[in-house]
């Protein structure tokens, strides 16, 4: 497909994406593309529902629901916004044929099945090239499509462990810690970047390509300096908690109440003086133990004790605001509810309101940046098969009668 930018359009308008991803690491890539203007068509099967369509988080008014739909899971809605959805039975020859017809009029195919699964269904990159020589295909898997471990299963936490992230995460005196689904979303962002790069390359040359994406490598690529530290010093980088090699104070301090924590980081002497002023301890700023970053780092334990003595008596959010106003880097360690209520994020319009399929408006996290000159596409995630008529009728040109037959025969779900 050739694509010409339309004045006033979003950057990815005119790009069509066939999205065969599921769960978490794949779908968010398609969602980013969709919010930036691409027409992203999520291909689903009623026999093999997206894990998150089954995941039990429904914002139901009924405290004891007797029936749960496939459309209402908040996890699903959070990672599939702004897409179109179709249902297709790929076990049937006609289903396979329809998918290929869709690929023929699309720009990108993205999937996150075990390497080889697409080829076994007849949708390997070579197969897709036969119907669309300029197609861009991205396959995202735990360890990549090649190598001795290509068939290893993986989820976010395992990719974090294999990639080298878990080992350096946690308290210095504790075991390694691994993160969770955030690694998937990070990988989805990276994959979306690679897809846009390939689109740009195709604009310049007319050539499509295959992108083999490894989610555990996605973790390692964000640890460049950690790998260099080992090579440069022979030392295996360990866990530092919230600490920093140079800065002190640089930690998370207990505040008034239970499990309320405040992160404070000081780099310069001016910032330290500002902190001392907010704490009403001006004598600290001229204390020789804390004069200069190196001295503060040397006497970090004593300093942390003094700061904790102060934060213990402070309301977390009030103290954070005062420190920020004074020019000190400080933030509450927010949990999800704090984030959801953060007035700053509210004022920036970070959460977007979408209608839940079972009724009621919901706020969901939108794009993680603001863009001048065009609002992102915000639409609730598709119900199962919601856009079958549009995609099979308007995009592929099937007649109403033909679509009805395919429905009857179970090709279109």
């Amino acid at each position: 497909m050739s694509r010409r930018p339309v004045p006033g359009s979003l950057p990815l308008e005119g790009v069509r994406v066939v999205d065969m991803t599921w769960v978490w690491a794949g779908p968010f890539a398609g969602m980013l593309l969709a919010m930036m203007g691409a027409e992203v068509i999520k291909v689903e099967s009623r026999d093999r529902l997206d894990f998150f369509r089954r995941y039990v988080i429904w914002p139901l008014a009924d405290a004891a629901p007797t029936e749960l739909s496939t459309d209402g899971s908040m996890m699903f809605l959070s990672a599939n916004m702004s897409k179109l959805g179709i249902t297709l039975n790929l076990g049937k020859p006609e289903g396979k044929d329809l998918l290929k017809r869709l690929v023929a009029v699309s720009d990108v195919v993205v999937e996150n099945m075990r390497p080889g699964a697409m080829a076994r269904m007849g949708f390997g990159y070579d197969d897709l090239c036969r119907v669309n020589p300029a197609v861009i295909m991205l396959s995202s898997s735990a360890r990549g499509a090649t190598g001795p471990e290509s068939q290893y299963a993986g989820y976010a936490a395992i990719n974090h462990a294999i990639g080298g992230g878990a080992y350096i995460t946690g308290y210095p005196d504790g075991p390694p810690g691994h993160t969770l689904g955030d690694v998937d979303l990070m990988n989805a962002t990276t994959a979306a970047f690679a897809i846009v790069a390939a689109l740009r390359y195709r604009d310049l040359t007319g050539e499509g390509q295959f992108i083999d994406y490894s989610q555990s490598e996605g973790v390692t690529s964000l640890l460049g300096e950690v790998l260099l530290e080992y090579q440069m010093t022979g030392r295996i980088p360990g866990r530092k908690g919230n600490g920093d090699d140079f800065m002190a104070p640089h930690s998370v301090y207990a505040c008034w109440g239970v499990d309320h924590w405040l992160a404070i980081a000081v780099e310069t002497d001016d910032e330290f003086a500002a902190l001392c002023e907010v704490m009403e301890m001006p004598e600290l700023a001229i204390d020789s133990r804390f004069g200069g970053a190196a001295a503060r780092k040397r006497n970090e334990a004593a300093l942390d004790k003094i700061i904790t003595g102060w934060t213990r008596r402070q309301d977390r959010d009030y103290a954070a605001n005062r420190l920020c106003a004074a020019g000190v880097a400080a933030a509450p360690s927010r949990d999800a509810q704090d984030v959801f209520r953060d007035p700053h994020l509210r004022e920036r319009g970070v959460f977007v309101e979408v209608e839940h399929p079972e009724g009621g408006a919901n706020d969901l996290m939108g794009l993680p940046y603001k863009m001048s000159g065009g609002d992102p596409v915000v639409r609730r995630a598709p119900r199962l098969g919601e856009h079958n008529d549009y995609v099979f009728g308007d995009v592929l040109g099937l007649s109403t009668r033909e679509i009805a037959r395919l429905r009857r025969e179970g090709v279109i779900g």
Binding site: P7, T220, E229, M232
Partner: protein, 437 residues
Amino acid sequence: MIRAHRAPTPSLALFDGRLYDPLDSDPRRSNVTSPFEGVKVVEFAGMVSGPYCGKLLADLGADVVKIEEPPHGDPARQRGPFPDDTPDPERSGLFLYLNANKRSLALDLTKPDGREAFARFIDWADVLIDNHSPDVLDSLGLDWETLHKRNPSLCLVSITPCGRTGPRAGCRGTDMTGYHAGGLGTLLPPRSSDVSRPPVKAGGYPTGYHAGLTAAFAAAAAIFGRRPGGGCLLDVSEQESVVSLIRGFLAQSVHQRVTWSRVPDRPPAFGRMECSDGYVVSHVVEDHHWRGLVELMGNPDWAAGDEWNDYPYRYGHMFQIGHKIDEWARRQKKEDFHHKGAAKGFAVGSVYNAEEVLSSRQLQAREYFVEVDHPRAGKLRHAGWPYKMSVSPPQVRRPAPLLGQHSEEVLREVLGCSESDYRKLRRSGAVWKEATS
């Protein structure tokens, strides 16, 4: 590789003429080898977020000119790690990784000539990456409105701790405060019900890297969809780039009132397990994963009942047998558990440290690492890219620059500086070049 633009008249006097060469005039060229070839980027950024955004574009062919302020340049030059722990601004690992493929121009922005040259570089650029507080560009007379007027096609990627608007617009932040501000800290350490100890950030610079990644996606889309005169401001907040990563926890928290980190209720076969020589992380969710684990454990009696084959049952009753799974795991070697578990079809992986990552057979087979030879730091293996692109792969074409290494080169090439103009700039101290010692 880098398409040098040569100005028609090499004179500082012509500084007000446009040197912009729109790529759109010739959209299909057969000699192109990289997606962002021909894209001109000025990177006015330090530490991680802005430089990682610049690196992602540079590795795929963008011409990135990094503007550094003397005498120290990018603060990442001071951060290390350093070979043998000896500080040296030209051998800082953080800087070397994040700035390969870029050219360094050292400009003293306190000098009028330095500021003028800076503005001229922005006129040339398609993309300006800035991770200073917006006051810095404002104080140089280059607020967004002015930039947009001077160069209507310019995409300004502004990365700040909390974004350019809202009550916390001007607040400072570091990698650690940003991680906690965005809500990821409370998820760590996992399975941590001890509320007397603080939440922690993930290791490394997770906030900066992710903000850079977010910015790079937005910038790539803007480059792809750009129209003449269609410049845009991308306002990237480090906090929001972290919030983006907890979007699932937001849904859970708001609708189920669950805060994941502070409850010890995760089934033990989901998460970290201690082995005789280290740790693994496993994620046993689907029933066939569970059967694989049971087989690997040698089908013990205590896991024999059919009821365990049901995920909701397991989830609710795992504490009855979790300690037995942990006991079994403590007798295993982590790599045995890892590879044998994978063979049984469930998801498990060793917790690898830097040394183990560097010697991973999988990464070696995939030729993931890139050897980069730097004039001061020598040969080092850099992390590669998680995306293998069959036609236009990312690559390292040159090592990270010395401070001001390309000052003369880019001034001549981009601004058309003559020999005498250049000497004048050097004499005034507006332009620095790396010490040749």
